[in-house]
């Protein structure tokens, strides 16, 4: 038997729940501790430092969002396969960068990745899944290597790496979330337009405009 709740009581319960949520968030904010380990570049070597590392590079951000957009555009299984392939290849390439293994044309590769992935979305390209995975994996090499070279060698490697990988995943997720709009006609145009913008940003990086 269902128990009916009066509107006033419902309102009060909702307010109490919101209040408890806000209290928890406020408590976290107040109890957060400052970063105490920094790299030579002044970057914090902790979870937050790792989390912000991929977010502060527009070339990386647009390419990773494009991976999510393209995955959402292609649908299952690409929607999860591409975001699984990217961090794995990126980590291996990042390890090569950390270890100092030489790789040339990294910045060019990153710019081309934005152009290619953006163009795939803009043109609504639907290649076979393995081609999409290989393409994304190949571009992940450049992004991972570039991050690896910049990674600060310091104390709290695991917290930094966790933040770094989670941020990359979140960028993919934001691309997937926006790409999910493609199931509607207007949304499809918006997603393709976003792909076009990403490709243009890639061109700007390649030509040195940005």
């Amino acid at each position: 038997m269902k128990v009916r709740t009066a509107p006033f009581e419902q309102l009060m319960v909702m307010r109490l729940r919101w209040f408890s949520t806000l209290s928890v968030l406020l408590a976290w904010t107040l109890t957060s501790i400052p970063a105490f380990a920094h790299s030579e570049k002044g970057e914090a070597i902790d979870f937050l430092g790792g989390f912000t590392h991929p977010i502060f590079g527009l070339d990386h951000v647009v390419a990773m969002v494009a991976v999510g957009l393209w995955g959402a555009f292609l649908g299952a299984p690409a929607i999860w396969l591409l975001p699984v392939v990217f961090p794995l290849v990126m980590a291996v390439a990042g390890a090569l960068g950390v270890l100092g293994v030489p790789l040339s044309g990294v910045e060019t590769g990153i710019a081309i990745s934005a152009i290619a992935l953006g163009a795939m979305v803009a043109l609504a390209a639907r290649p076979p899944l393995w081609i999409a995975a290989v393409l994304v994996g190949a571009f992940a090499v450049f992004h991972g290597y570039a991050h690896g070279v910049e990674l600060p060698v310091g104390a709290d490697a695991i917290a930094f790496s966790m933040g770094f990988v989670v941020a990359t995943g979140m960028l993919h997720l934001s691309g997937i979330a926006f790409g999910a709009l493609s199931q509607w006609p207007a949304g499809r145009i918006a997603v393709q337009a976003a792909g076009g913008i990403i490709a243009l940003i890639g061109v700007a990086f390649l030509t040195g405009v940005i």
Partner: protein, 201 residues
């Protein structure tokens, strides 16, 4: 809403977890409870527990139980060795390697039982050998080691049981993505540690 709050709390606690300074997850908390927290809140250990639980959760009921038993046995052996402080080991690095391989298996959604059992033994032994607390008295160290064993075993059992129950399509995707993240983190941390060791000497 309560469920959302619980998820929010969990994510928040995990995100704001601070690094281990004296191998004690929370300053001032020792004993068995401190050991349990150690097994869950030290990032390397928590990640290995999660990875092993997800891999065992992909296996049928009997194989899952065997895997859990192997993990507990290996962990017990490691804890006994750790209690008698049997030398400095490469336990932390071995634990990361095992966690990385477990992450790859989760991402591939491919976990043959013999491989899962081998990794369970490796992870259990390495986690236990890496659990020796830096405390003054042996009694306190023993209590914390017992807590570490109990915490790790309970967490692996809980994650594997949950993973076994939630075997829908969406859960499998979440699991694969988590696996790729775990493997990626392990690879990056290992490379950073190698370079740090090479630099520091």
């Amino acid at each position: 809403m309560n469920r959302q709050l619980a998820i929010l709390c969990t994510v928040g606690i995990l995100a704001t977890a601070t690094p281990a300074s004296a191998h004690s997850p929370i300053m001032g908390i020792g004993g068995v409870f401190g050991g349990i927290l150690h097994a869950l809140l030290i990032p390397e250990h928590g990640m290995s527990v999660l990875a092993l639980g997800l891999v065992l959760g992909q296996q049928p009921w009997i194989q899952r139980r065997i895997g859990l038993l192997i993990f507990i046995t290996a962990m017990t052996c490691g804890l006994v060795a750790s209690a008698f402080a049997l030398g400095e080991t490469l336990a932390a690095d071995v634990l990361l390697v095992a966690t990385g391989v477990l992450g790859l298996l989760i991402a591939a959604a491919w976990a043959p039982p013999p491989l899962g059992w081998t990794l369970a033994a490796l992870a259990g032994l390495a986690a236990a050998l890496d659990s020796r607390p830096e405390v003054a008295s042996n009694e306190e160290a023993f209590r914390m080691l017992i807590g570490s064993g109990l915490g790790a075993a309970a967490a692996v059992a809980a994650v594997s049981a949950l993973s076994f129950r939630l075997r829908g399509k969406a859960q499998l995707i979440v699991s694969r993505v988590l696996g790729s993240w775990i493997a990626a983190i392990a690879i990056l941390v290992l490379s950073l540690r190698i370079v740090t060791q090479m630099t520091v000497g």
